[in-house]
């Protein structure tokens, strides 16, 4: 299986391509130099198709589509946009298209997009025309669930997951706001946050208002979700309504703060995180300047440190929520991450050892795998 890593950066899109053995990676690009690229996602139903979320410092947000594995791109005819606001309403406009997710395997051409300010959009024609998902964007509780500016770049709707067993069953995450679930194709939504800490709120167990950084549904066991939250690492096994803080098993001096969480494609007990310093003023860099990935192989009961090949000292990595991924080689899984300092690191053995496969890139926002 040939591998491509699509790297979305603050200054354009890059591709790292490897042969089937993943020993040698070749950097190509940039494409869209100067544009802010938040996400590039392959369509698993039509692998030649890719979607890219883009904007520039001056120009508004849009989506580009490729039907030839990224050789050429065409802009969406109708990018994600909120409906026209009514008299008396606070007008809302998409500032960032942040997250892209293919729809259900049975719904060819269907895509979802998450935006800032918090909004979800759906396309049924391969990402050419987008419509707001009114059930969430106009939900009467939305302004109660989602309050404040969210992340430094605004509220972010991300981590849209479609249940492989039911196209009407959706999850999403909002920073900040929490995790929400729909069982009717997005017509209505319910918070799913109990058990998650929200140390920045006075209520010890609020129903919403949390800050999930990255939420991932296990593709082979969709009743299991993992979450790297602003306040820890969690797992939930539905139909439970309560998340369990599996990050409590992390070493105390490392903590369980970070942005991304990555799952094994077949084994629902395996997950990888990239812990960052969430003490004092929240540096959000590798703890002690010693970068490490941590893996659990038993659904969060224990964690192991994986740092062979990473800097032993003075490595102050920050890895953003969409900048870590795994490939599909389930026998010898490749795991990858990109840093805000423009380095891409790769492991061809489930994180046991690491090597830098690209450096000197712009600030990395996303790393995604494509075949």
């Amino acid at each position: 299986m040939a591998s491509t890593l699509w790297v979305g950066t603050r200054k354009g899109a890059f591709a790292l391509r490897a042969d089937t053995r993943r020993r040698s990676w070749k950097l190509a690009g940039p494409q869209f130099l100067g544009q802010i690229i938040h996400h590039i996602v392959q369509d698993p139903r039509e692998p030649k198709v890719l979607l890219m979320a883009a904007k520039t410092g001056h120009l508004g947000p849009t989506v580009f589509r490729s039907k030839d594995r990224g050789r050429s791109w065409k802009e969406a005819a109708q990018p994600p946009a909120f409906r026209k606001s009514l008299d008396g309403e606070q007008p809302k406009a998409v500032d960032i298209v942040f997250y892209l997710a293919p729809g259900h395997a049975s719904e060819r051409g269907t895509w979802y997009a998450g935006a800032s300010p918090a909004g979800i959009f759906r396309s049924e024609d391969g990402g050419d025309h987008w419509e707001p998902v009114a059930g969430f964007n106009d939900h009467p509780m939305l302004t109660t669930w989602v309050q404040g500016p969210g992340s430094p770049i605004g509220q972010l709707l991300h981590s849209i997951s479609v249940d492989p067993g039911d196209p009407n069953h959706l999850y999403l995450g909002v920073s900040s706001g929490g995790v929400f679930e729909s069982t009717d194709a997005g017509r209505d939504w319910t918070p799913l946050n109990h058990g998650c800490a929200a140390d920045f709120l006075p209520d010890p167990d609020p129903a919403y208002g949390h800050d999930p950084h990255c939420v991932a549904m296990h593709p082979a066991r969709p009743d299991r979700l993992y979450q790297q939250n602003h306040c820890g690492i969690y797992r939930i096994d539905r139909p439970s309504q309560r998340w369990t803080r599996i990050g409590q098993a992390m070493p105390k001096k490392i903590g369980d703060i970070g942005f991304p969480i990555v799952l094994h494609p077949d084994d629902p007990d395996k997950a990888w995180v990239f812990p960052m310093d969430g003490t004092t003023v929240w540096p959000r860099t590798s703890v002690g300047g010693r970068p490490a990935v941590y893996v659990t192989r038993n659904a969060g009961r224990t964690w192991q440190r994986l740092d062979r090949g990473l800097p032993r000292t003075q490595g102050w990595f920050t890895v953003l929520r969409q900048a870590m991924c795994a490939d599909g080689d389930s026998k010898r899984l490749g795991v990858y991450f990109g840093t805000t300092a423009g380095e891409v690191w790769a492991s061809g053995n489930e994180g046991e050892s690491w090597r830098c496969i690209a450096r000197h890139l712009p600030q990395i926002y996303s790393v995604t795998h494509a075949t």
Binding site: L59, G60, A77, A81, A93
Partner: protein, 88 residues
């Protein structure tokens, strides 16, 4: 009415690289609609879904800043599409 439109560099991917194009209309809104017909997608990068100019976009008719998209234009006017400073 035919007007000249001066296009800032970030928008020239829509105009096949041209820094100056033509558009027709009686108001700025008309000109932007005509531009979007000729160069699909261009308007939304400048004007959001609530018909507001995006934060780093400025429009001028000749040397007068555009207040609203309903501002009228005269034949021979020049509409400047300016991308203001937006950081590094």
């Amino acid at each position: 009415m035919n007007c000249t439109v001066r296009v800032a560099s970030p928008l020239r991917s829509y105009t096949n690289g041209s820094a100056q194009v033509q558009a027709e209309g009686r108001t700025v809104r008309d000109l932007l609609a005509d531009l979007d017909r000729r160069y699909p997608g261009m308007r939304f990068r400048m004007i959001d879904e609530q018909d507001r100019m995006r934060p780093h976009i400025r429009l001028f008719v000749n040397t007068t800043a555009v207040d609203t998209l309903g501002d009228e234009v005269q034949p021979g006017d020049t509409l400047h599409l300016i991308c203001a400073l937006s950081g590094g």
